[in-house]
């Protein structure tokens, strides 16, 4: 399957990927301003920028073939789609126990405690028909979406 990969030599640590991840998961998918002003609570970014100058890179769910989070999930909310390969959390069934955070070796799952507690993670922008928003909007092509 296609995944997002970082090219850390091109990453400038601008965090534009985080901004567009928030927008893509808001109710205002094409409007940064509205996403940041009108939506409350605002979705968390599902991408993490790690930084230790001069190195930086963005990291999100690897959508593992044998995804440890899906095997560890106590409710069955975290599932890997057998066709697309996308690992996603059915938030309605998630109780925020954080066993997936324990299981994920990439540290790619975040706690969303703004409403009901749920695990928040990259869904490869499965709702959209274009490349993931982080890849599309990276100003220096430091993120690529490809098969490896």
């Amino acid at each position: 399957m296609k995944r997002v990969f970082a090219k850390e030599e091109y990453c400038v640590g601008c965090r534009v990927c985080e901004v567009h991840c928030v927008v893509a998961h808001s109710d205002y998918k094409d409007d940064i301003v509205k996403a940041f002003t009108k939506q409350n609570p605002r979705p968390l970014p599902r991408i993490i920028v790690e930084e230790n100058r001069p190195v930086s890179f963005a990291l999100q769910c690897r959508h593992c073939e044998e995804a440890p989070c899906t095997k560890a999930c106590i409710t069955g909310a975290m599932q890997k789609d057998p066709i697309t390969g996308v690992v996603s959390n059915e938030e309605d069934r998630c109780v925020g126990c954080w066993t997936c955070i324990l299981a994920c070796p990439f540290g790619a799952i975040a706690r969303d405690e703004q409403g009901r507690k749920v695990a928040s993670k990259c869904d490869l922008c499965s709702d959209n028909d274009y490349a993931p928003a982080c890849v599309k909007h990276c100003p220096n092509a430091a993120l690529v979406y490809e098969e490896r």
């Binding site: 970082a6 993490i48 560890a72 309605d92 126990c97 954080w98 070796p105 990439f106």
Partner: protein, 425 residues
């Protein structure tokens, strides 16, 4: 492929893992799943959420309602598998039916441990493992009613949290000197105890129940420390032991649990075991151990299923790990958290104002355990380092930092882990 008759006894994480493991390669052969509980597969850890009213019974399903039909599983629910004849490969059910198998998985889980001498036969005495336990408890759990919970482990404290939210007056009795003694050291346990006490849960530590009072019905307990506690109901949550009843009087080897190899096979041909009933490999202690935790149960079950269907796939082993929280105070722990001996190096970052605590235990520059209280984000990275037995000497100084991550590893290490995507995580 010749059709196999698969039989699975149990209906929780290991059993479901086995169905999914079998179906990775064998889409055709019939699977019969037998459980003494009458319910569609549900998440056992959710019973405390159910009790507190946070999750309805309809939302407790561990897999979707069409799981059995989608996976070609004949589920025999509400009927106990009573006898196993390994020579003829037959499981006999309580209703007299005989089920033949080519490959059998025993995933019967755990049963409550009751110490000798403790009277658990009076009315209103419960364990806290299954849905039926909480369905009985909820009838008595009214604001102002009183309960005593024996055991301050994961189960006892989750019961306490659920009941506290219902306004029940709770005292937890624990033989150890602290709460959660299996997963927390003294300092961490003090933080967690304080959190629970702030929500009106009371504790009696370093003692245990001497006598259960009442005639037919529990009215209270006396403790070894001389105190007496009144209660309307009693919850016994001292621990679970492997539920090995089905293999009694068979040749299946049992130590503490049913002993399995790295393919989850027992010593008897065609018989596998997985989950809380089994005793598999612990890759931190490097020995066979019972590991009664859900992620291990699922993975063992999945591995058993794959091997039952003919794959030759070794399970590397598991280790103790838990993510749990009480009243929005989260913690994640894994492995050896209170080592004994000189071979260990301990890193600690404790912040009593922020109520956070991080402890990492190292041996020969590999991580063998950790406790994260309150600051639990990205704990899985460290769990991954345990699993890989990675040498952490180059970034040891960074391990405790809140922003510890792949940035602290060398670019080669990082590339090796990240650039291959999720192919072998």
């Amino acid at each position: 492929m010749r059709k196999m008759k698969y039989v699975i006894v149990g209906n929780s994480a290991a059993a479901i893992g086995a169905v999914e493991g079998i179906r990775k390669s064998d889409k055709e052969s019939p699977i019969t799943l037998i459980s003494d509980e009458p319910y569609h597969t549900y998440s056992r850890p959710l019973i405390s959420y159910y009790l507190a009213g946070k999750v309805s019974q309809e939302k407790m399903y561990y897999r979707k309602p069409d799981f059995y039909s989608q996976n070609g599983v004949e589920a025999i629910l509400g009927v106990k598998a009573e006898k196993l004849n390994t020579a003829e490969r037959i499981v006999t059910l309580a209703d007299g039916r005989s089920i033949e198998y080519d490959k059998l998985l025993i995933s019967t889980g755990g049963r409550p441990f009751v110490p000798p001498g403790l009277d658990v036969n009076k009315l209103n005495t419960f364990s806290f493992i299954k849905l039926d336990d909480v369905k009985a408890i909820e009838k008595l759990a009214k604001p102002g009613s009183k309960t005593v919970i024996i055991g301050a482990g994961l189960i006892g404290l989750k019961a306490a949290e659920g009941l506290a939210k219902l306004g029940v007056d709770i005292t937890v009795v624990e033989l150890a000197n602290r709460v959660l003694s299996a997963i927390l050291d003294e300092e961490a346990a003090a933080f967690v105890q304080q959190q629970l006490e702030e929500h009106q849960v009371k504790f009696e530590l370093n003692t245990t129940v001497d006598q259960v009072l009442g005639n037919e019905q529990v009215t209270g307990v006396t403790l070894k420390n001389g105190k007496q506690l009144d209660c309307d109901f009693l919850i016994v949550a001292i621990g679970v032991v492997p539920n090995t009843e089905l293999v009694k009087d068979t040749d299946v080897r049992v130590n503490r649990g049913i002993v399995v190899d790295d393919s989850m096979a027992t010593n008897v041909s065609g018989v596998y075991a997985a989950g809380d009933v089994s005793e598999g490999y612990d890759l931190i202690y490097k020995t066979q151990r019972v590991l009664p935790i859900l992620p291990n149960a699922y993975q063992q079950g999945e591995n058993a299923g794959e091997n039952m269907a003919g794959a030759e796939k070794a399970y590397k082993g598991g280790f103790a790990m838990n993510a749990i929280g009480f009243f929005d105070y989260p913690m994640i722990t894994a492995g050896i958290i209170k080592p004994e001996g000189d071979d260990f190096e301990i890193l600690v970052d404790s912040d009593s104002e922020g109520k956070s605590y991080k402890k990492i235990v190292l041996k020969n520059n590999t991580v063998v355990g950790f406790i994260y209280l309150n600051k639990v984000d990205r704990a899985g990275i460290v769990r991954g380092l345990i699993r890989e037995e990675a040498d952490v000497s180059k970034f040891k100084a960074e391990l405790l930092k809140d922003d510890f991550g792949y940035i602290n590893m060398s670019s080669e290490e990082r590339a090796a882990k990240l650039l291959k995507g999720g192919r072998s995580a």
